[in-house]
Amino acid sequence: MTISSQEAGATLAEIDGIVARVKQSRLYRLTGGLLILWGAIVVAADVIGFVWPRWTVWTWAAANALGAAASFAMLRAGADVPPRLPWRFLAAFAVFVAFGLLWSVGFGRFGPRELDAFWPTLFLFGYALAGLWFGAAFAALGLGLSGLVLSGYLWSGEWFTLWLAAVNGGGFILCGLWMRRA
């Protein structure tokens, strides 16, 4: 059996297409688990912040530490080979946090409501950017949830923290479930 160069080219293109789908599927599956984890953390932290507003800062500090440790454990468990410490990811995370602190605590004059809107939209902006490299689902997640957070900021009144629990935390969980099935 012989094949032409056109057929060989088409076969190689098909192989590339399958490989890309498998890699994206693996990425979505792993990310889906992380989104479900962070969605649950966001729901819990926002509900605690709504019931006991004075504990909001400590709640979020504990939630972030718990989420970071659980995320790293999930990445280790889900990787084909044990990952090294993800320095690039940690550096990107540190840059986002530094930028957030610079404006929320330093130069900006944010009230509690503005802070509640600022931090989720800052990290959702990161998801939207990630969509440029890792797939449209990340961009849709970042932009869609940012829109919902901002609409809550403008129109949800005193229920804003619970609104965040529902649309930000709930949105993460729903997107995570979808990604695991994609």
Partner: protein, 98 residues
């Protein structure tokens, strides 16, 4: 340079091997449902092609129960990875000659 591997060149088996070799050798493989969606094959057709690859020693099949549901996982063997790499090299050589 080896010639065309007719076992791998069949379209469904080519997609199967492309998907399975995209994973690292230490990964657990892909389950039947995922392979069905990647190849676009029917249950019976996919099963027959997986069996064909297993007879050639290109894949390893693991069957287990997750709860009460049977789960079939397929993984590329070392021989399968080598054969697929040779097949891809052969395809590239054809293009390079033109």
């Amino acid at each position: 340079m080896d010639g065309l591997d007719e076992t791998i060149h069949q379209p469904i088996r080519l997609r199967l091997m492309a998907a399975l070799t995209a994973l690292s050798p230490s990964a657990e493989g892909l389950d039947f449902t995922r392979l069905k969606s990647l190849t676009g094959a029917t249950d019976g057709n996919l099963g027959a092609h997986i069996d064909h690859l297993a007879r050639e020693g290109y894949v390893e099949i693991a069957k287990a129960f997750v709860g009460k549901r049977p789960r079939t996982t397929v993984k590329a063997s070392r021989a399968g990875r080598a054969a697929f790499a040779r097949h891809v090299a052969f395809l590239k050589s054809i293009i390079a000659q033109t």
